[in-house]
């Protein structure tokens, strides 16, 4: 049964990965001959001050978008888990961003945030007429916001499922003990969502390594290099500077960082695999 999955994973996951590892030890401009060059690409990449900067920006985007997305997603997810009909209607609205492609979202936000033709100028609201994508700090904030806007619906969906799994009897017991809504949320919902939080956080953290399309269209890494994340750095080296060797080295670093983070998140979940469900 696992054979088809294994074949697909090998063909589109492992083999290309191996190709990139090999390419990182070569010099190639994308069309000429591929020439082995030992550790040249690696020494170029590791000596470049652009690498720690890109790592830092990647980390910032990861951390900030996690901090923003997680609480909001949990709250929306918990809210949507309720059985009222109006919540179902709202749920449909909340999930709209999931239907849009990153490029479409970026182009839309770029137009809305344009200081000269955008929302601020159109409505005449000076507060909105910031140079949103032209100031390094603001641009990073906008990237985090747009990333979150795009992915909160997805994570809300995960949390909604998680909350619905929590046995109703727990809430009933708490209610008998006189616990209010807030107390029930912190004492039952949140602890019971532990594994859901780990799942969702892993997706967020590892996924944030690959935010390329959105940032590429929104800021292209700018202003200057303020929003140049690792994936974008890889693209620019590979396809704009035609340095496939160093670009592959960065790709390998991306893979390693991603693997490391995924393992770390699993560790954070703790070794105890005991069920959270009552009496089981």
């Amino acid at each position: 049964m696992t054979l088809p999955a294994l074949v697909v994973f090998t063909a589109f996951g492992l083999i290309p990965l191996l190709g990139v590892v090999l390419l990182s030890f070569t010099t190639w401009n994308g069309i000429g001959a591929i020439e082995p060059s030992g550790l040249d690409s690696w020494s170029v990449v590791l000596a470049d001050p652009g690498l720690p900067h890109a790592l830092w920006v990647t980390f910032l985007v990861m951390a900030l978008s996690w901090l923003f997305q997680t609480p909001v997603s949990i709250l929306i997810g918990t809210f949507l888990a309720g059985q009222h009909r109006y919540r179902a209607v709202l749920a449909v609205l909340y999930f709209v961003p999931l239907l849009l492609s990153s490029a479409a979202i970026s182009i839309t936000y770029k137009a809305l945030l344009d200081p000269n033709f955008g929302l601020g100028a159109g409505l005449g609201v000076p507060l909105l007429r910031q140079d949103w994508l032209g100031q390094p700090g603001l641009a990073l904030g906008v990237v985090v916001f747009v990333v979150s806007w795009q992915f909160i619906p997805f994570h809300s969906l995960i949390y909604q499922g998680g909350v619905r799994q929590i046995p109703q009897s727990m809430y009933e017991a708490a209610e008998l003990d006189g616990a209010g809504t807030v107390r029930r949320f912190f004492s039952i919902t949140l602890p019971q969502l532990k594994y859901t939080i780990i799942t969702s956080s892993t997706l967020m953290v590892v996924g944030s390594l690959t935010y390329f399309d959105l940032i590429f269209v929104l800021t292209a890494g700018g202003p200057g290099d303020a929003t140049r994340v690792l994936a974008l750095d890889m693209y620019k080296r590979g396809f704009q500077a035609n340095l496939m060797g160093p670009a592959s080295a960065i790709a390998v670093i991306l893979v390693l960082v991603g693997l490391g983070l995924a393992l770390l998140m699993r560790r954070l979940g703790g070794k105890d695999t005991d069920s959270q469900l009552e009496g089981m």
Binding site: G30, I34, D114, N116, G134, P223, F239
Partner: protein
């Protein structure tokens, strides 16, 4: 909001016209052709939202190619995802024997229409040959064509900007030498401006046949706002700096700039370097002279650029505006900005998008003004001498024959020449000036023709002249220079590191 929608809709208009410059002296020619030819390939041009084109690749994938493609796949994957282009798929005649000849077209009107009309006319005139076409957005095309050439899957006719990109194809043996064919078919060669051949020539051999139009960079200005402020167009750099506070006081940005695209900022440096120090300052960089960026004249030009930024010479938020969206042009024709330094290709989109801005005579244009005490020749310009068509060396003989027939009979036929002129561009055929007079854009076309034919040096765009490594570093540092996050000296130090690379 309507404003936004309307310029988004025309995203590809400039795309279409953003040709790659090559280094040519239109005035003093062919001897110049092989002189300085920096060794490398294509220039990076900052990215557009190259999102939605779906392409049809008429090639089939052989196993060997597939393996080669697989190697590149993880990296290419991200690029292709960005471009939204699918991998090789068979459609429209990728049949046995290599199939029909093919040509890829850059999207965006009016160029897209003119290019497909040319193909259509050729297919109708030659019932036995049918060129397949596929259409790509400008920036998507650059990545796609490079990947395709690298994977031996290029279309029969490879369209490009000549210069460094073409050189890299030649070095990889991917394009055919057209020199002897052009010598045998002198009629084809003699119709075209000799100056156009330089950027299609590598080491004395012609690999790219010039096609389409000549496009220098022009200083545009909005006559409406100049009248409102009571100002005259700048005659010198001093005038430029004097105009800045006058326009700012009226709440009008002195210059529009699509700074996120980076090469837009580069045009400023190209002209200031030339006007202050003459064309030799950058030539030294291109020739690989050590510490050439530290030339005091270069530092002066960089400092003056930052002075203009510090004086708020550019529109608020310029570093987040992309040229690909035409927003920089919109700023000019909506009276939000007074002036704009941009390629002659923007004339067409400003006349189609700017209401009566162009037709009502509100658009002014001039060559970049001289700098007081500068060494450069005020007639010097920067831009694109032509675009180029090369024949893929991987095509079948049958396809190559068809391609040659296409080059001989379809490229810049009388009908195509007329279409370019109607679109506000100057085609690179001899005697074109006689036809310009009848155009509704005759003044502009004559101006462009004049600039192109009287310039002392028609300089090559820097990102094209340098190696891709150096070019990417250059664009990076230019963006930071305009952000004021590095000083001119730091810029020079950073750039000196990649001289000769």
């Amino acid at each position: 909001m309507l404003r936004i929608l309307s310029f988004r809709r025309t995203v590809t208009d400039t795309e279409n016209f953003r040709w790659r410059p090559g280094h040519v002296g239109l005035g003093r020619l062919p001897d110049h052709a092989g002189n300085h030819r920096p060794k490398t390939f294509r220039s990076p041009r900052e990215a557009a939202a190259s999102s939605t084109e779906i392409s049809v690749d008429p090639m089939t994938t052989s196993r060997r190619n597939f393996l080669r493609f697989a190697l590149a796949a993880p990296l290419a994957g991200s690029a292709l995802a960005a471009c939204g282009t699918a991998g090789p798929s068979t459609a429209g005649g990728g049949a046995a024997g290599g199939g029909a000849p093919s040509i890829w077209i850059i999207s965006g009107q009016p160029g897209e229409g003119i290019r497909s009309n040319t193909v259509k006319r050729f297919n109708e005139a030659n019932p036995d040959i049918k060129f397949d076409t596929a259409t790509f957005q400008n920036d998507a095309y650059k990545t796609r064509i490079r990947t395709a050439v690298g994977a031996n899957q290029a279309p029969t006719l490879i369209w490009g900007w000549g210069g460094g990109t073409l050189r890299s194809y030649v070095e990889a043996g991917q394009v055919d030498d057209l020199t002897s064919w052009l010598d045998q078919n002198a009629g084809v060669k003699d119709r075209l401006l000799p100056s156009a051949f330089a950027a299609g020539t590598v080491d004395g051999k012609v690999y790219g046949m010039p096609c389409e139009t000549v496009q220098p960079i022009v200083l545009y200005y909005n006559k409406r706002v100049f009248e409102r402020v009571g100002a005259q167009p700048p005659q010198t750099w001093g005038d430029v700096m004097d105009l800045v506070p006058r326009f700012n006081a009226q709440g009008i940005a002195p210059f529009s700039l699509g700074g996120q695209s980076r090469w837009t900022n580069m045009m400023w440096l190209e002209f200031l370097f030339d006007r202050i120090g003459g064309s030799e300052v950058f030539q030294a960089v291109a020739d690989g002279e050590a510490d050439a960026w530290s030339n005091p004249l270069a530092i002066q030009a960089l400092t003056m650029t930052q002075d203009l930024v510090k004086a708020n010479g550019f529109i608020n938020g310029f570093s987040s505006i992309t040229a690909d969206s035409n927003a920089d042009q919109a700023l000019l024709y909506t009276d939000k900005a007074a002036m704009m330094l941009h390629g002659s290709w923007t004339y067409g989109s400003m006349s189609s998008e700017g209401g009566d801005f162009v037709s009502g005579g509100h658009l002014g244009y001039m060559n970049f003004p001289p700098v007081d005490g500068g060494k450069g020749d005020p007639s010097d310009t920067v831009g694109n001498p032509a675009q180029y068509l090369s024949i893929s060396s991987k095509a079948t003989d049958q396809q190559k024959e068809a391609a040659k027939k296409y080059l001989a009979t379809a490229v810049l036929s009388d009908a195509e020449v007329q279409e370019w002129i109607d679109a506000g561009a100057v085609p690179i055929v001899k005697g074109a000036e006689a036809k310009l007079a009848g155009s509704k854009d005759a003044d502009f076309l004559n101006f462009i023709y004049g600039v192109a034919s009287t310039t002392k040096t028609f300089a090559q765009s820097w990102d094209q002249a340098l190696s891709p490594t150096a070019a990417e570093k250059l664009l990076d540092n230019i963006a930071q220079l305009f952000q004021l996050s590095i000083s001119p000296q730091q810029f020079a130090t950073n750039m000196n590191q990649v001289i000769g690379q």
